[in-house]
Amino acid sequence: MFQVEQVLVLALALFATGVFGVLVRRDPVVLFISIEMMFNAVNLALVGLARHEGLVLGHALVLFVVAVAAAEVAVGLGIIIALFRARTDMDVDRIDELKG
């Protein structure tokens, strides 16, 4: 009953949702969640295609991506906590110190 098209459509929907979230939300935590959604949408597409093609390497790669993503989450949340300590206001539009 596995159909690669269904998996890819689901991955696309997840990715689009993530992009939408990044663009419209201003809370850094929600932003972060949206990024994770995009991550996992890509993972899903990868694992689905790997199964469709019958390649074990794809499955192994997904495990690596999950591990790297976990590390990235740790770094990202660390940044958010540091930001929260530095300022109470957490609207990402107001955090524009990187402006040239």
Partner: protein, 640 residues
């Protein structure tokens, strides 16, 4: 090695050594090297004359081929030198008079620092070398090289006192005015090259007729060559550089006016007479330019108060005579006058240097007078020079001027009108020569008591050259005594092989006419010298300060140039600076900067705004764009 290279090499080597090492070697060594270099060149040039005299008259034409200067296909121009009576005569004159001027300079420049002294002598040697290249050339390319080298050396020497603005300006003026003439010369050379495919005199001059006698091409070539000659010889309206050339040290003036530089124009016409004779129009232009310049410059000389200016305009006037002579085909007479003039004009300028030395640079004859007892040697030699200039009978200048005027009147291409102009010039010349001598040496002095008492003769280096030149000026006439005396005319015999192909030559005036003319000149000269004496020789000679009128203002030629060229050019340059440079070019450069700055400011404020979500949007937009591109361009193949 051919001895001709010694003539050229000695002054060049002298110039190089003195310029490079003179400041370290000291003044004595610089002076000795420079003088010995010229003495060597003079000795070799004299030996060449002797060698040439020993060969048959029709064998007196030797081309010494040198290294190849320029080779383009079949065209070749080498550093070829020509040994013929005219060139070696000029070489002897240049080195001989040049040597005396060098010796005079040893004392005249003694107060300069060692470095300046060495620079001066190096340039002086270089000047002589340049002139020798010019006169010894065997093709137009070498002639042009010498022509330009002379221009360069005159620039260096006229502007020798380089910290003086007026000297630097005078140097530039000499160079620029000469460039006008050089332009004509160069154009003529180009025309000859395209007609003959060669620049050698031996190819062009014997076959000059192939340009077509009376053709427009021949006339153009001759007139363009004459433009060059007029620039170097200060003829017509191109004379303006010569009076300003007085800014150089006085011996340099002597060198420019007597031996080198200004004689180049006369030499050129004499050398290229075969080309000039093709066009009677060009010859008429030459003769009339010479005659009118002679009269005009004599008029100006009669109104100057600066003794060097008087001498400068007298040079222009005498050059006018020479140009007049070659313009009627009397080449030998022109070269004869060139020869005598070289002696007496060098003498007059060195005498002037001696006066300046005695009076600490005073040049205004309103502040002289009565110097004959203070400066006896200068006085007598100056008197000889002025007598030659005026054409007092039996002096060198008298015979050469008589020769020219006789042929202008009675020669095959003579013209009574030209003679009348020349005759009037002779009268004015007698007047201003007398005026010059009487105002400087006679009457009561107008000097300060101290300056007058302090005036004294310089050492042997001053007096020696003056005496030698005075003797030369008196004796030079013996080279061309009038025909009716029946004596040998060595100069004419010597130059005959050069001018055998001339179709314009012919017998001079007959004996009665010649005698009559001589009597007329003698009376005229006596009358006008007497006029000068009665005006300026008396004890209570009045001081004239008038600096107005046509002649006193040099014929308004400088003003005319100012109006015609200088102002227009300055206005054009000002406009180019203000509008084109400042607005257009600077504007374009600054517009580039403003655009970059403005674009940067705009992007910084509106795109690089620090908002993370905006950056994310750019990433998404960019990704979408890439995806679309891939689909349109590459994707079409990969999805098939």
């Amino acid at each position: 090695m051919n001895p001709i290279y010694w003539v050229l090499g000695a002054p060049l080597a002298g110039a190089a050594v003195v310029r490079l090492a003179g400041a370290k070697l000291g003044k004595r060594a610089s002076a000795w090297i420079a003088c010995l270099a010229l003495a060597a060149a003079l000795a070799v040039a004299s030996a060449l004359v002797a060698g040439l005299a020993a060969s048959a008259p029709d064998a007196r034409h030797v081309v010494v081929p040198g290294f190849t200067f320029l080779e383009l296909g079949l065209f070749r121009a080498g550093f070829d030198l020509l040994v013929d009576p005219l060139s070696v005569l000029m070489a002897c004159l240049v080195t001989g008079v040049g040597l005396l001027i060098h010796v005079f300079s040893v004392a005249y420049m003694a107060e300069e620092s060692e470095a300046e002294y060495a620079r001066y002598f190096a340039y002086l040697n270089f000047f002589v070398f340049s002139m020798l290249v010019l006169v010894l050339a065997a093709n137009f390319l070498v002639l042009f090289a010498g022509w330009e080298l002379v221009g360069l050396s005159s620039y260096l020497l006229i502007g020798f006192y380089r910290s003086k603005t007026s000297a630097a300006d005078a140097g530039k003026k000499a160079f620029i005015v000469n460039r006008v003439g050089d332009f004509g010369f160069l154009m003529a050379v180009f025309l000859l090259m395209s007609s003959y495919g060669s620049l050698d005199f031996d190819v062009i001059l014997p076959h000059a007729a192939s340009l077509g006698a009376g053709s427009a091409l021949a006339a153009t070539v001759a007139l363009l060559l004459f433009l060059g000659a007029a620039g170097k010889s200060a003829q017509g309206p191109l004379f303006v550089w010569l009076p300003d050339a007085m800014e150089g040290p006085t011996p340099v003036s002597a060198l420019i006016h007597a031996a080198t530089m200004v004689t180049a124009g006369v030499f050129l016409v004499a050398r290229c007479h075969a080309l000039f004779e093709l066009s009677s129009l060009a010859m008429k232009a030459v003769a009339w330019t010479g005659a009118l310049t002679a009269l005009f410059a004599a008029g100006v000389a009669a109104r100057q108060n600066d003794i060097k200016k008087v001498l400068a305009f007298s040079t222009i006037s005498q050059l006018g005579y020479m140009v007049l002579a070659v313009g009627v085909g009397a080449y030998t007479a022109g070269v004869f006058h060139l020869f005598t003039h070289a002696f007496f004009k060098a003498l007059l300028f060195l005498g002037c240097g001696s006066i300046m030395h005695a009076l600490h640079g005073e040049l205004d004859m309103n502040r002289m007078g009565g110097l004959r007892k203070k400066l006896p040697v200068t006085h007598w030699t100056f008197l000889v020079g002025a007598a030659c200039l005026a054409g007092v009978p039996l002096t060198g200048g008298f015979f050469s001027k008589d020769e020219i005027l006789g042929r202008v009147l009675a020669g095959p291409h003579g013209d009574p009108l030209l003679w009348a102009v020349g005759y009037a010039t002779a009268a004015v010349t007698a007047y201003y020569s007398g005026r010059l001598v009487f105002r400087v040496f006679y009457g009561s002095t107008r000097l300060d008591r101290d300056a007058f008492d302090g005036a004294h003769e310089g050492g042997w280096a001053f007096q020696g050259p003056l005496l030698v030149l005075a003797l030369g000026a008196l004796a030079a006439g013996s080279l061309g005594l009038p025909e009716f005396l029946g004596t040998a005319r060595p100069l004419e015999a010597w130059l005959a092989p050069v001018f055998t192909d001339s179709t314009w030559g012919g017998p001079g005036p007959s004996e009665p006419l010649s005698l009559g003319l001589m009597g007329l000149y003698t009376l005229t000269v006596a009358a006008f010298v007497w006029l000068a004496w009665s005006l300026f020789g008396k004890k209570d000679a009045s001081v004239s300060n008038a600096r107005t009128g046509f002649f006193a203002r040099n014929g308004y030629v400088d003003e005319l140039y100012d109006l015609l060229f200088v102002r227009g050019l300055l206005a054009l340059c000002g406009w180019l600076y203000r509008v084109v440079d400042r607005e257009l070019i600077d504007g374009a450069v600054e517009a580039v900067g403003w655009t970059a700055q403005g674009a940067g400011a705009f992007l910084r404020q509106n795109v690089h705004n620090g908002k993370v979500r905006a950056y994310a949007a750019y990433v998404v937009a960019g990704s979408c764009l890439l995806a679309v591109l891939v689909l349109i361009l590459g994707g079409l193949t990969c999805f098939r």
